[in-house]
């Protein structure tokens, strides 16, 4: 490490080069992820053509003649090859038009935009709860290394890591919801309360409208679903963090820092954690698809009106347009989480930055 005066960046560098590099990084990442999204949507499109229910039968009245059906089929493009149909769908989707839901007769895009904030809110709360619990228990178990608590925590972690998210949801409902009656577990907010819709995020809306009772109700209704999701985020994080902290502590720079007289606490939190966090953050990226898939059942179990509940209803009703659009939304969500993760990794780990 040099003296600060030699490496001090000039103003132009800070104002222009850094944001430009960040934007270039994000753009490159986004461009690289676009083909993946297109292939996912194509795979889902092809799979959905196999639905045993003919979408035309749901659209035409029972007394329609075969000529009528043929005309409608032509109008909807259903008589053309699958790839051509997909092309039309993609073109419309790129303009934000995902078609009309067979189930409700409304525009799919509007339905999704209505439900999406609930899911994102759950996802955000789940990730936050998971990070806090995971980092906390990982650090704690490492801090207690050598004592009899360490194997106890790790054994508990080994058991908890195996339990899938929807079983956590049910276990939490039975124990904290029905058994102890600490927290509510049905719906997004108390039935008697209402929040004026501003952004769609009920947490934000209740705060913005200054409705303290509604905010408290939203928080308490979000607690159990976020906990169920968070437990699935936390357990692998804790395990990974514990393992990589143990590895990092064998490295020379830790010994050097200790010889310089750095106390145990700043050594762990400032020196070791930064390096040990890298594989942990990368793990979150790998787990992102599992966690986001977990919101599907958690929303259904807790009665949250998010896109997961929408998806399960659409699946039950063979609502192809909605299923197709939601699959893309889920894929985009995973890609965005991965984008953020790779950005965070680059921020924390200078070795990953290719250009000096």
């Amino acid at each position: 490490m040099n003296t600060t005066s030699a490496t001090e960046p000039n103003i132009a560098m800070v104002l222009i080069a850094r944001p430009a590099r960040l934007i270039w990084l994000l753009l490159r990442q986004a461009l690289w992820r676009m083909p993946m999204l297109i292939i996912i949507s194509l795979v889902v499109f092809v799979i959905l053509r196999g639905i045993p229910v003919d979408p035309l039968n749901m659209l035409v009245p029972p007394n329609a003649s075969s000529a009528d059906i043929a005309r409608l089929s032509h109008q909807l493009g259903l008589d053309r090859p699958v790839l051509v149909q997909y092309g039309y769908w993609l073109l419309a989707a790129l303009h934000g038009d995902f078609g009309i839901s067979i189930q409700t007769g409304t525009a799919v895009t509007a339905m999704i935009l209505e439900a999406l904030p609930t899911t994102l809110q759950l996802l955000g709360a789940g990730f936050a709860a998971g990070l806090v619990m995971g980092l906390g228990s990982g650090l704690l178990s490492f801090h207690l290394r050598g004592t009899r608590f360490e194997p106890a925590i790790m054994t508990l972690n080994g058991i908890m890591i195996a339990i899938p998210d929807y079983l956590w949801a049910i276990v939490l409902i039975i124990s904290l919801g029905v058994g102890l009656q600490w927290l509510p577990f049905v719906g997004p907010i108390d039935a008697a309360l209402q929040v004026r819709k501003l952004t769609g995020f009920t947490l934000l809306d209740s705060l913005l409208s200054g409705n303290a009772a509604a905010f408290a109700s939203v928080v308490s209704h979000l607690a159990l679903p976020a906990l169920a999701l968070g437990l699935c985020v936390a357990t692998p994080i804790a395990r990974m963090l514990h393992a990589s902290l143990a590895e990092v502590y064998h490295e020379d720079y830790i010994h050097a820092a200790r010889l310089r007289g750095v106390a145990e606490k700043p050594l762990l939190l400032r020196h070791a954690l930064r390096n040990a966090a890298l594989p942990t953050i990368a793990l979150i990226g790998v787990q992102a698809s599992v966690i986001i898939g977990g919101t599907l059942l958690i929303e259904t179990i807790f009665g949250l009106p998010g896109i997961g509940a929408l998806m399960l209803r659409a699946l039950g009703a063979f609502d192809m347009q909605t299923i197709q659009a939601l699959a893309v939304v889920y894929a985009i969500t995973v890609q965005i989480v991965n984008l953020v993760i790779s950005w965070a990794l680059q921020r924390i780990n200078p070795r990953l930055r290719s250009s000096p």
Binding site: L48, P164, V178, L296, A327, N338
Partner: protein
């Protein structure tokens, strides 16, 4: 490297208590699945609408007629649990084998074809792993019709990518080993090398992956049947029991608690089985500890 005998593997495994317990539990499950018609006191779909939501025999009002009580339709919970093991066991056996086969074939293809095919397989693995597998399985089950065969197909179609990624990395490492070059020089064909040199090399990872896939596949099936998109309404599954149990949770928690408990025990057993196997077959760890 000395030659490791399978018996040493067994000895290492048997020393681990968690492995023995979990393997025993899973074997018991398989036995129950085979003997379900003899063990179950009632037919799994027999409804007794006069005795709805009975508690288990140890609670007040329970009877030994229905040892674990009845659900909201008056069906015997014990019988349904016993019959539910059949789906669990079938999935636990077929899905890992199928996903391993598909994943290995694609991994070998990619590992030995360093052109566009390798690139394409890598991209597909990336894509598959970046899409929620629960969702892909659900979408597949909508397109296919309900049924055990289709559930197995859907789980294999969703889960091959994990096998492919790990095994391909192994294949690429093994390919560059000197004994593979030696085998090629001494006249073995590519297929001979794959069969005699590469396949034995990937067995440890494959065993560990397949054992972990047991719990993943069992959970996937339970999620599908929880969402009502699995083997169809006539066949009792734990996932469907959990879903039904949620509805009658306030009147009686047992039809919900018991399948949840069985599910958790099974997943734990499968996970510990996988951990035990992957520790016992981890060649690097063994070399470090001097056991190999």
């Amino acid at each position: 490297m000395s030659i490791r005998l399978p018996s040493s593997l067994w000895r290492r495994l048997m020393r681990k208590r968690s492995f023995c317990l979990s393997a025993g539990f899973l074997l018991l499950l398989a036995l129950v699945a085979v003997l379900a018609p003899m063990l179950a006191p009632h037919a799994p779909n027999d409804q007794n609408l006069l005795e709805v939501l009975l508690p288990p025999f140890w609670a007040d009002g329970g009877s030994l007629d229905y040892p674990l009580g009845t659900d909201g339709l008056g069906q015997c919970v014990l019988s349904r649990l016993l019959y539910g093991t059949r789906i669990v066991v079938v999935i636990a056996i077929t899905a890992p084998v199928g996903a391993a086969l598909l994943g290995c074939v694609l991994a070998l293809l990619g590992g030995y074809h360093s052109g566009w095919l390798n690139w394409a397989i890598d991209r597909f693995v990336d894509i598959w792993l970046s899409f929620p597998s629960v969702l892909l399985a659900l979408i597949l089950m909508v397109a296919l019709s309900p049924g055990l065969q289709n559930v197995i197909l859907a789980i294999i179609f969703v889960d091959w990518a994990r096998f492919c990624r790990v095994i391909k990395a192994e294949v690429l490492v093994i390919r560059r080993r000197e004994y593979v070059a030696a085998a090629r020089i001494s006249g073995a064909s590519i297929y001979g090398v794959i069969k005699r040199e590469v396949l034995p090399g990937i067995v440890p990872s494959l065993i560990a992956l397949m054992a972990l896939e047991i719990s993943i596949a069992v959970v996937a099936e339970s999620v599908l049947s929880f969402a009502g998109m699995s083997v169809g309404p006539g066949t009792p599954t734990w996932g469907a029991m959990i879903s039904d149990g949620l509805g009658s949770m306030y009147s009686s928690p047992y039809p919900l608690l018991l399948p949840v408990l069985m599910m958790i025990l099974t997943v734990l057993a499968a996970t510990f089985l996988g951990q035990g196997l992957s520790e016992a077959t981890d060649v690097r760890a063994l070399e470090r500890s001097g056991a190999a």
